[in-house]
Symmetry: D2
Subunit: 343 residues, 4 copies
């Protein structure tokens, strides 16, 4: 097809890993319990608890990430309580006001490379002094971030400690948690994340699942009646088993991390190639989402060959977002680099 | 397994029809566009438009029925506008206050056999006279109903005409639309439904899909910006293509109706057997959900053999809800009747 | 004026008691602190705490009753939690879905004479068994009720005990609390109410104030950050002092109870006259709102002479609602009875 | 009293203008209709329509400004629609997330001197390109602004034209509309405001009323069912007549503008004195709210003598907010300047 283009737009362009689909197909017409109370979900929950070394964790499966974010946040907060987030945060920019639609304000700071620092959080808290203002109550960060960067263990520990001292919940959007944990520059384990955050989700949609995310609530004070919220907001699926089963497949023998490693490796190879060709990056290339900066005309010509998103125009240059996935073939990366070299 | 029981609890106990899963598996690692803008969804939308003879219809795919209901209703109504529903309505009883959580009151009437009449609707409207009360604005009914009954063309036409004359929207919960349309006592076509209602959804979850419902908005005044609402409420999935593809499979050569017919046939056979054994029904057995009334001890003994829900205790008898599905084997129905006869 | 009619429509037809207006006028251009942090409010709060014998009570002033109801309820409940109320409850019938607009469902029972019993409440609780339904969490009752009746100490104690045993909050709408407490058939004191309820409000609007209600939160677990909610919902007035000052005037030397007593006395005189003329009542005449039942033509002719609301058509008779106020002159009551006798 | 301090904190520190209180007191126990359907409100509405030369305007009285803002905005917008506001906007900073609590996001720009420009608005619109983001739909500005500045007729006309061309509603927070219109640097009339905006409110609380604001909806498309919203959000007071009557007094013979002129004159005299003493201002002193910049120690010493709010620390200086009111005596201004000169 003459105008077919490979896509580096995102990590959900391919349907699902074959083993996930095989599992779904293998069930036949066996009957199981609805609404997440099935054996597959129960096994997946045990696998997650083991993976994060937290037997008390409360785990729920849900179809998508925006839904996970609005569910968690609206479950945890009272009406006047607000969220602190980086201004690049997915909930602030790309969820059509989903959090505000549940009644909660998001207070933002610019952050750095998509990451919030303790000082950022502190400055929001300091600004909110009385009942004429919202009460900041939950810190939202992403791992990996919208810029593809990761928090180090030191950084996340500092944020977590600040939150606990100041009565703030810490919630992590883990749509790309696999890519983060498996990044060579990340020294966090899943167990660390579960220790430091009050809640987070493990993203399946962007790492080989057909669809689905696993919400993990680590703070026992926040688990009460969560299934009521799930149901009320439309998130409790009759066939929730179909998500549970996918997580079972992804987690039972390391497939989840394998896929994330492949995705990261493809992006790192791409980043190396781009760097060797003399181009720089808007922020450190650490996971499967990288943001090189090309001269505007180079970006333009690459657009003719590949699908990807422009990130930000900076003078005569264009920072572009390139995302690899669990399914990206190495040849596609090689092709991209070759095409870029040929310009 | 000694304590294994077959289930007549619902029509979503089995995963998905093999052809649906085959289709999902056949895609491999081909890339497609996210968020419902993919070729499968586009083809499924065309199939739906053809099926309902309404080229202008606005179609959206979503993971579950509660989500569909709250999305449609909260998109159509202003804050002070309310819903009229039968008091057996799923949105009133079994969705954890999902509609109220979007800010809207539900005004109920008892109805008859799960169905609202024009007189029911009229009485709610008559009661709401000024700004100290909500303004009823949308009529919610289910086809088939929670009691497994169907509206006739005459009944639905009367409701539709009343709604149009009185500035009310008519919305149909079609979680079991296939069972309704394919019921031998239903003289409605899909095109009739699309003509008479302002919006409805075609249920996939309960008729062979892995998951998914197709929201159809027929009234052009109500389509604006619906995708914004979808996204804001967490309903727009990155891999919405996985739902579109399922509807393509279900609709391209009649599988959807075939499955509904099978499901209905199993229930009708069951109803015949029950009737022959001398038991009566709480309301007419018209689709794949039937409600026979057993003496309490008979119900109790059947519970030891099969999984199903009690519906309502009536004196010394128990009305029980039996649901068949696209996957129910005839032998399971025969077994149930034989076991019932043996009591 | 030939077509002038005296009104028995409600107890807020007259502006405010002269002593209230004098107090507001006496301040001149003295400066005071805004948003309820003024000396008048502080003194009024102390008067209320003394009156209810509850030094720990949390008191807030607000302009109107609907606002008080929605503020309290939305502050106390999580998103999936619901209200139990009589189906005659003001929040269910006459507040334009205000509670649902904050996201909460109201579960109703018919009750008796406007009152809920423990059995009513119990039956709602029993019906709500899992996460597919809302979780009933707060009982809303009115004192006096929409039918002008009062709860006895025994009745209210039973409800309160049931609520505490079952994790339900008890909230009292006290728009006409003065009329209730000062009713000759009511054996409750203000202190009893504060002991038995988790929260209630003392109505000013319907008992001599220009406007204003005093919300009293008795359960310490429910007071946190209430001023944030007040502000967020538009209820925290810059000149909240104007409400505080009115409550100071009403409470400092018994004016509040005096006005309620006058109002009740006028209604009781009216009820006696009506009874003597051979008419009956829909429910016991206990406070300043009474509901006699007249033949339809009698009701019709009295409408030509007086303003009042029809309550309910019952066969050939009409139950009508007659309300007296702090300002109703005895001559107006005498006139009504004379006119009724003359029919 | 030794530690008594005059206050320049705000323009709602004094109760109400004597003529307002006289009017309220003059009514005695005459009866009138509740919920804003009284003769006083009707006359006040006619006075407002005449004042703004807009006979079709829809006018509603409400107790406070935060409530007015959230009512108007939540009545006009669908769930996914958002507000554009300056980041100093009262709704963004000082209303405890009231707008977000109704479900709507606020998109901000820094603006200049508290004012938004067309370019600011344009940049928000340009950024919102699809359904993954909210749809900006209403522009919120204040007249006068939080910084005490006013829009010129040219500026407001440009904004209005941009809004109309781009499907945006223009809403003006007029908590200090009197001060703005009567500012010597403002060339706008009330009629201009009504022509250029879709809705605005005329503030009473900060200009001599006991309490109360008049919401004016100028765009006929936006008036439908507004009273339902008023009631639902707790804003429709039984004794709304008490607000209507105040506006009648304020508007029937120019008192409203007189009070605003006095307030402005006091601030201008103060500004002149401050300027003469060599101090500068953070932004132009145009109405009754001015923001001089003092050396930190000067601000500190003036705090010992007067109550006022710090606005912003800038290096070694402190910008402070000084507000005069309809009741500020000239002697208090003279005293302030004398005390400042003496430092």
């Amino acid at each position: 097809m003459s105008n077919f283009k490979h896509s580096f737009k995102n990590d959900y362009s391919e349907m699902a890993h074959p083993r996930v689909l095989e599992a779904l197909s293998s069930i036949g017409s066996r009957q199981f319990t609805g609404y997440g109370l099935d054996e597959f979900s129960f096994r997946a929950i045990e696998l997650i608890k083991a993976r994060i070394s937290k037997p008390s964790a409360d785990v729920h499966f849900i179809a998508g990430g925006t839904h996970a974010n609005l569910l968690v946040i609206s479950s945890f907060l009272r009406p006047h309580e607000a969220v602190i987030a980086p201004d690049s945060g997915h909930i602030f920019v790309h969820e059509t006001g989903a959090i505000e639609a549940t009644g909660h304000k998001i207070c933002t700071r610019a952050g750095h490379n998509g990451k919030l620092s303790v000082a950022d959080i502190e400055s929001v808290v300091a600004e909110h002094t009385d009942e004429h203002m919202v009460r900041p109550r939950l810190v939202y960060i992403s791992l990996s971030t919208e810029c593809g960067t990761v928090y180090t263990k030191t950084e996340l520990t500092a944020i977590s400690e600040y939150c606990r001292k100041n009565g703030l919940y810490l919630y992590l959007d883990g749509a790309r948690l696999g890519a983060a944990i498996n990044s060579s520059v990340c020294d966090l384990t899943y167990a660390n994340v579960a220790d430091l955050a009050d809640a987070f989700f493990i993203g399946g949609t962007k790492n080989g699942a057909l669809f689905g995310e696993a919400i993990v609530i680590c703070n026992d004070d926040l688990t009460e009646d969560f299934r009521f919220l799930l149901k009320q907001r439309g998130g409790l699926l009759a066939k929730s088993s179909a998500i549970g089963m996918q997580f079972e497949v992804l987690l039972e023998d390391g497939l989840y991390d394998e896929l994330a490693c492949h995705s990261n490796a493809m992006a790192m190879k791409m980043a190396d190639g781009i760097r060797r060709l003399g181009y720089d990056f808007l922020c450190p290339a650490e996971t499967n989402l990288i943001i090189p900066v090309f001269p505007a005309d180079v970006a333009e010509r690459m657009h003719q060959l590949y699908d990807f998103h422009d990130w930000q125009k900076i003078g005569d240059t264009m920072a572009v977002r390139l995302v690899t996935s669990w399914a990206t073939p190495e040849s596609m990366v090689d092709g991209f680099i070759a095409d870029l070299a040929a310009i």
